[in-house]
Amino acid sequence: MEKFQTITSTCVPLPIENVDTDQIIPARFLKATTREGFGANLFADWRYDKSGAPISSFVLNNSTYSGQMLVAGKNFGSGSSREHAAWAIAGYGFKVVVSCFFADIFKGNALNNGVLPVVVSDNFLAKLFADIQSNAKTTITVNLEEQTIRNNASGVSESFEINAYKKECLLNGLDDIDYLLSKKGAIEAWEKAHEA
């Protein structure tokens, strides 16, 4: 996994609540057997019409907005455990998703794929949406080491929570399997102690 660095970027706003994993990546795109290529179908049913042409009103098709940060409404990523949703977001080029609330499994899947979910307050999110709307060049800066997110238009910054272990993993580009494989002895000891 790539090491996560401090990022400053413009944002793509999606001010909708309860964006579920079926919207992030519809089920018919889950038939692949590799992790690659999901970015092209991110938000497919909101992004393309039946003929496959881009729907101009959808934000990913609006050249005014771009960047490595997706800013979304409350309860982002609800629904399925499909990691394909995180692969689609990462594959599209997003490094950070900002919302005031995330679904649990999505959050874990994002972190396991080097995408940082940043939980901000309702006020921070509302102001950020307003600032992006009035100026699409509004940037935010996410500093993982310090656990801060700053709205560079308003100057307002907040600290965010992240599990200390996951933070180390992201900063150092490590994954959970490396950790688990280092614990084989403890696993075998647990099994021995629990033999029926």
């Binding site: 409350k74 455990s81 679904a103 399997i177 688990l180 403890a186 647990w190």
Partner: protein, 464 residues
């Protein structure tokens, strides 16, 4: 200190704790299907690893499989490739798989309990959010992502932050004609789709204790739809009776020993939960959803809310949702015409669901304008339907039984609801496009689905 069902099982499975981090939890049972596993097996190959405890993983293809002509090769080449990939991975890594044509094939969350693979006190995971189903047995069961599937294959463990605990207690008795699905849809409508995020839920109270195992599975299945990591119900005589004698359940002395342990699992008097919620079960009516998430449910006689009843931050989503569904705020759901009915899925594809459906349609005729897909959750359910003669009741009413699989729940096979059409579905999600691009899903229980299949419109089954 008195402890909860959740705490007892969790604590018994901790291998190590990462400092300031997640718990390394031992997993007793790993279920796997074709959609969320290929990249995990690839990961093992890339790292040169074997499956650490192959006997603890069970595979079944379910999401992609057709519900007709399963004896023939799958027509969709991409679906076929995914199912074939599962078969190849099972062979290469020495895992048990119940493939197409096998008597044990079916939806993984249906066949696990049927075969006694799901037992009280276990930790159970699967790359599928509805793994919460297995919590009905008094186990910790939750859905995981593909990276985590790889972790479990490689180490039989997973790294998980300890969730908070919530108990939802249902006092009183259910009204006649109200099902487990209605309990779940009611609960999600009250708590919202994010209302239990971060929690593991224990369902308790008189109304829960009176449910059969299959009904309990329906309730736990939908825990994920309110954001919970999982749901669980303390094991009791209902649980033990269901489990006893199933193929992989303990036998003889091992049974007595297991039973003695399972009886120690229920939450103790005075145990503390992070959150407690109480409902009056007698207030629950048959439910139906009107919107595009499972929290948008109402009693079948109620009206869709008006915009001023919705929190301002959620109004854009509410309006978008109603526009998609072709409904207006304040409208009545009862009497609305529908086009499709789907009975099946890991939520409502078990034998009791078919019995419930048959109880309503018996002696009546299917509405001409409605296409009905009746899809058993497994071949064992299919066999039982025939053994009980339910197939005859269904046929006489004009219905036809299809072959088992996930089917129109998420439409990864051919069973897709066309754009703009309305489907009363016993499945778990009504998200935009869930049953096919542009499809409009109304979630309901098997009785409401049966009533709609007969009248062609949203109907209270108690009036038939």
């Amino acid at each position: 200190m008195p402890s909860t069902l959740f705490d007892k099982i969790w604590d018994a499975h901790v291998v190590t704790a990462v400092k300031n981090g997640p718990t390394q939890l031992y997993i007793d049972r790993h279920y796997c299907h074709e959609v969320t596993s290929p990249q995990a097996f690839d990961g093992l190959r890339k790292r040169g690893l074997q499956v650490f405890r192959p006997e603890k993983t069970t595979l079944s293809p379910d999401h992609n499989i057709p519900t007709l002509f399963q004896d023939q090769p799958i027509k969709d080449p991409i679906s076929k490739n995914q199912v074939d990939t599962l078969t190849r991975n099972a062979q290469e890594f020495g895992l048990t798989m119940y493939g197409l044509g096998h008597a044990k094939n079916g939806i993984i969350h249906v066949i696990g309990p049927e075969n006694g693979l799901t037992l009280p006190g276990m930790t159970i995971v699967c790359g599928d959010s509805h793994t919460s189903t297995h919590g009905a047995f008094g186990s910790i069961a939750f859905g995981i992502g593909t990276s985590e599937v790889e972790m479990v294959l490689a180490s039989q463990c997973i790294l998980q932050p300890r969730p908070k605990t919530m108990r939802i207690t249902y006092n009183g008795k259910l009204q006649q004609g109200v099902t487990a699905k209605d309990i779940a849809l009611y609960t999600i409508s009250q708590l919202t789709t994010g209302g239990a995020t971060g929690y593991f839920v224990e369902y308790a109270g008189e109304a829960i204790r009176s449910l059969s195992m299959e009904e309990r599975m329906t309730v736990c299945n939908l825990s994920i739809e309110m954001g919970a990591r999982g749901g669980m119900i303390a094991p009791d005589e209902t649980t033990f009776t269901y489990v006893k004698g199933r193929e992989f359940a303990p036998k003889g002395e091992a049974w007595s020993k297991a039973l003695a342990y399972w009886q120690t699992l229920p939450t103790e008097e005075g145990a503390v939960f992070d959150r407690e919620v109480t409902f009056d079960a007698s207030q629950i009516e048959p439910m139906i959803t009107y919107g595009t998430n499972p929290g948008m449910g109402i009693s079948i006689h109620a009206s869709i809310p008006s915009i001023n009843q919705i929190d301002p931050a959620g109004q854009i989503s509410f309006e978008k949702s109603l526009k998609y569904m072709g409904f207006a705020p304040g409208e009545q759901m009862e009497g609305k015409a529908i086009d499709y009915v789907f009975l099946g899925s890991c939520t409502n594809g078990r034998i009791e669901d078919f019995r419930a459906f048959a109880s309503i349609v018996k002696g009546k005729k299917k509405a001409d304008n409605v296409i009905v897909w009746l899809v058993p959750g497994s071949w064992a359910v299919e066999k039982q339907i025939r053994a009980e003669g339910l197939d005859k009741i269904l046929e006489d009413a004009g219905f036809e039984l299809r072959q088992p699989g996930c089917s129109a729940c998420l439409a990864m096979n051919e069973d897709k609801v066309p754009a703009g059409k309305y489907a009363v579905s016993t499945s778990n999600r009504n998200f935009e496009g869930r049953q096919g691009p542009g499809s409009r899903t109304l979630l309901a229980g098997p009785l409401v689905a049966a009533a709609a299949a007969i009248t062609g419109q949203i109907t209270d089954p108690r009036t038939l």
